[in-house]
């Protein structure tokens, strides 16, 4: 599966990664070679094979719906790029 310029631009946008115009050909080239490696698995007939998500096939544990963690807002916001009055600041979204 070869990826072209528009594929790379689309993927980068979906992944919210900015790319410089000049970098796109190199990404297209390397991503195409990675997808070429990955496509080797398309040759295998896996009809009837159950997908494996957890090696030991355990299921998700459930717990009681009770609060178990203390409020750590101050500690967690101390490492944020920008906060004010307990809120995270981002550029204006609503004019």
């Amino acid at each position: 599966m070869a990826l072209d310029r528009s594929d790379v631009e689309h993927l980068a946008h979906l992944a919210r990664i900015g790319l410089k115009e000049a970098e796109i050909p190199a990404y297209a080239d390397k991503l195409s070679s990675i997808m070429g490696l990955i496509d080797r698995m398309q040759a295998v007939d896996t009809s009837g094979v159950q997908p494996l998500a957890h090696p030991l096939e355990t299921t998700q544990r459930l717990r009681a719906d009770v609060v178990t963690e203390d409020n750590q807002r101050d500690a967690l916001q101390a490492i944020a790029p920008a906060t004010e009055q307990g809120l995270y600041l981002v550029p204006r979204v609503i004019e």
């Binding site: 990826l3 594929d7 790379v8 993927l11 980068a12 979906l14 992944a15 919210r16 990664i17 900015g18 790319l19 990404y27 390397k30 991503l31 070679s33 990675i34 997808m35 070429g36 490696l37 990955i38 496509d39 080797r40 698995m41 398309q42 295998v44 896996t46 094979v49 159950q50 997908p51 494996l52 998500a53 957890h54 090696p55 030991l56 355990t58 998700q60 544990r61 717990r63 750590q72 500690a75 967690l76 101390a78 490492i79 944020a80 790029p81 920008a82 995270y88 981002v90 550029p91 204006r92 979204v93």
Partner: protein, 481 residues
């Protein structure tokens, strides 16, 4: 004193022949003296280390010490350490001081171990050469022109250069075993779910597993004892009793059935490595092992399936790095989309971006069945290969890598050629089985790693085989400097 193994240092601390403060000062001096060239540490924590060492000496004096009390360790810089920068080798987290402690590092704190610092690694553990780190490549102490392997390359180089008694690593596709092989160490990837992932910065959650990197199997047993166990904070942690990992080390190997997968000894295997592994097999035979050929018929599908599963999970896990709550934020964002795009453009390195984009592709609408689901089905086939092989043998033996450590920069422009070097290690992560890497000799003056894989929860047996081999050989005692 840095020539002693962890077990020997533990005995010396308990007999009061040395103090933890003396030992810690010794390692800190070695780091200062030697690590400028090797670059194995991202952050050194001398004040924390000496404070922990003084507390350890008090525990050694009052009789409340464990075997790890006072032992200076280094931790891969993806374990969150409260109050200490936890960078994951990335510019994205260069300013991230973890607000909480990972389960693994908390267990070492509880055991009284000393933290010398945080080790260098491939960015977000994505790499096999430790060249993708924001903090620069790590150099192999055996030959500083060469890579130490990755992604736990800093931990490997630090232990090999005797800058710490042992270190932690994590292994998603071979990131403990391959660098252990390239630097002459013993490193263990436990069964998936055996060690808590809580507080480990996630790369591929269904594959990631933490483990010890040390000089000997005996040392790995002591370290795993502290690391292993159920943790309710990790949703994939397994409730399974923790055995005494040192109890079976001295069992003889008489009757041990060792399988050599024919798929792992064919094309692409370096001749010097093949000869070295052949000698190691003969040594195990001399110790009483029976050698049989086994087959892992789907092994060649492991790398394609791995790069789908790991990239897909990475693209999801790394979506949390948005420039809003912690980590890197670009300067002067014009709007919210610009903030996301540029924070991630500037904060992530090229290999991380590639894997996020591959994972995004595999998970995008219309492609899920062809990629993620197909990879999970192949994962089942690979697990079934192991289940069939372990009907016939107790352990599976192979090299850790088909090629020796290569020159820094040699493969940096060809990611696929680098991916293919993980051919022997990746299957164990997909199947979730444990594996140990240990030094098996030298080829062209570089250490050659041997890998032993076993059934689920066979860590005691793997450590037993490795320990018995190390009683009969001295490769693990060789030091690079």
């Amino acid at each position: 004193m840095h020539e002693k193994t962890l077990a020997e240092l533990s005995a010396a601390l308990h007999s009061k022949a040395i103090s933890s403060v003396e030992l810690t000062e010794h390692y800190l001096a070695r780091i200062q003296q030697l690590d400028g060239a090797i670059n194995s540490f991202i952050t050194v924590t001398p004040e924390l280390a000496l404070e922990q060492a003084r507390a350890a000496d008090a525990r050694l004096a009052d009789g409340s010490a464990s075997p790890l009390t006072g032992i200076p360790l280094a931790h891969k810089d993806l374990f969150c350490t409260r109050g200490v920068r936890t960078s994951c080798g990335s510019k994205m987290l260069d300013n991230f001081v973890a607000p909480y402690e990972s389960t693994v590092t908390q267990r070492f704190i509880d055991a009284g171990a000393v933290t010398l610092g945080k080790t260098n690694m491939d960015e977000f553990a994505m790499g096999s050469s430790n060249e993708s780190s924001f903090y620069g490549p790590v150099r192999n102490p055996w030959n500083q022109e060469l890579i130490p392997g990755g992604s736990s390359g800093g931990s490997a180089a630090a232990v090999a250069a005797r800058l710490c008694a042992a270190a932690t690593g994590t292994d998603t596709g071979g990131s403990i075993r391959q660098p252990s092989g390239f630097t002459g160490l013993t490193g263990l990837k436990p069964t998936y779910g055996r060690v808590s992932r809580w507080g480990m910065i996630a790369y591929a959650s269904s594959l990631d597993q933490a483990g010890p990197m040390a000089r000997t199997a005996e040392d790995c047993a002591l370290l795993l004892q502290a690391m292993a166990g159920f943790d309710e904070r990790d949703s994939t942690s397994v409730e399974h009793p923790v055995p005494d990992y040192s109890a079976e080390l001295n069992q003889p190997l008489q009757g041990l059935r060792v399988g050599l997968p024919k798929e792992y000894f064919g094309e692409g295997l370096d001749a010097g490595i093949a000869n070295t592994i052949d000698q190691a097999v003969k040594q195990l035979q001399a110790l009483g092992a029976e050698i049989r050929e086994v087959s892992l018929p789907n092994a060649e599908l492991a790398i394609p399936a791995y790069y789908v599963i790991a990239s897909a999970e990475a693209s999801s896990n790394l979506s949390r790095f948005d420039g809003v709550r912690y980590g890197y934020r670009c300067e002067n964002p014009t709007d919210l989309m610009d903030l996301y795009l540029r924070s991630r453009e500037e904060g992530f390195g090229a290999e991380v971006k590639r894997r996020i984009m591959v994972g995004t592709y595999a998970l995008s609408a219309g492609y899920y069945d062809a990629y993620y689901l197909q990879a999970q089905k192949i994962r089942r086939l690979i697990k079934n290969d192991f289940l069939a092989a372990f009907e016939q043998v107790d352990v599976i033996l192979s090299p850790t890598s088909p090629i020796p450590a290569f020159r820094i920069g040699e493969k940096i422009d060809d990611p696929v050629s680098l991916y293919l070097t993980d051919i022997y290690t990746i299957t164990a992560n997909l199947a979730g089985v444990p594996g140990v890497a240990l030094p098996a000799g030298f080829a062209d003056d570089l250490p050659v790693g041997m890998q032993l894989l076993g059934p689920y929860f066979s860590e005691p047996r793997l450590l037993n085989v490795a320990h018995q081999y190390q009683q009969a050989t001295d490769w693990h005692t060789r030091a690079p400097l």
